[in-house]
Symmetry: C2
Subunit: 184 residues, 2 copies
DNA sequence: GTCTATAAAGGGATAGAC
DNA sequence: GTCTATCCCTTTATAGAC
């Protein structure tokens, strides 16, 4: 269901479609997920969340200069979108926007995933020398900018919003005071 | 339908629900909008788009300092969200994310609306002394950051993402070279 | 142009044989 | 645990009287 949720969103994805994609009968789906569509979506959000947070150190570690790393992060996302034909990059963002006011349970799971992203990414930035209260603000700004640029780029079929967001966030991060990295 | 689309999104909003809210029978809806749900949604996006672009000069004109204006813009949005119980602020962003890969016609309309936003807001910034290529990038960064922060704030039920985005965008705009405003 | 009734299709979910 | 058939509801959209 992860792939379908990412491409089509929550409302447009049917359980029957999920069963077909998984080459499993519907009965089996409901046997393993008695909560039905909601439970499956929640599981997808948690799994995706855990996978995506690993990208942060993976993509930023190679850059000694955090500002350069941030710019490269957004450029990589822009390249990915172009190469995949403007596919959705993050199911968490789109599903959150879709169900935030209509599916309280799923919204709560999304909040949990986003919260853990912020905690983990903030800790990473602190390790790279960003002071503690600033780190959290930087993560919120970057994550919001990334999710918003994903939507604009998918809607416009253009990487311009994503690349503009990258330059803006790099310029912003450059204004945030940085101490020495905790580990070399 | 505008209100329902804003709160529930495209998929969760039914034509019957729209008819009930408009106190009109379904037949009348289809008489005026033969294209059905899609045509209504497209009309809503265009109307909303035209209305929202007017907010830019309205909210920024009072501030001689553009950086202060940008900060106030995001703070005002954050206050609005808190006061409305985390209601969705912009149907264009959520609907775009929802249907970008499943409803080509509506995606095209969304792209048109977003494109006109960028054109108009860029022209406004040029009038405030921001150089032409920079202005477009600033608008993309701000719009993306705003839309993304809307999603995060709605999901987390917290204005923290929106306020962090505002501080980040203010810091970014402060780094963009500005000439003298075209008109005092 | 307005409204009611209904068609046609698809959704989520379940029952129960195996 | 697996799978099939089916229930029940809602959806979009239309037909046709008024």
């Amino acid at each position: 269901m992860a792939e379908l949720l990412r491409v089509q969103g929550y409302g447009a994805t049917g359980v029957k479609q999920v069963a077909a994609a998984a080459q499993a009968p519907i009965g089996s789906i409901y046997h393993h997920f008695p909560g039905g569509k909601r439970e499956i979506a929640a599981a997808v959000l948690r799994t995706t969340g855990a996978a995506y947070i690993q990208l942060v150190p993976l993509l930023l570690d190679p850059y000694d200069d955090l500002v350069a790393g941030v710019g490269a992060f957004f450029e990589a996302a822009a390249d990915d979108m172009e190469n995949t034909g403007w596919a959705n990059m993050c199911p968490v963002g789109t599903v959150t926007g879709e169900v935030a006011d209509s599916e309280p349970g799923i919204r709560a799971v999304a909040a949990e995933v986003i919260g853990s992203w912020v905690d983990d990414a903030s800790a990473y930035l602190v390790g790279r020398g960003v002071a503690d209260p600033d780190a959290r603000a930087v993560v919120f700004a970057m994550l919001g900018s990334l999710e918003g640029a994903f939507i604009l780029s998918r809607g416009l079929r253009s990487s311009e919003p994503l690349r503009a967001a990258g330059r803006a966030m790099a310029a912003y991060v450059a204004t945030v005071p940085q101490g020495a990295p905790a580990r070399s």
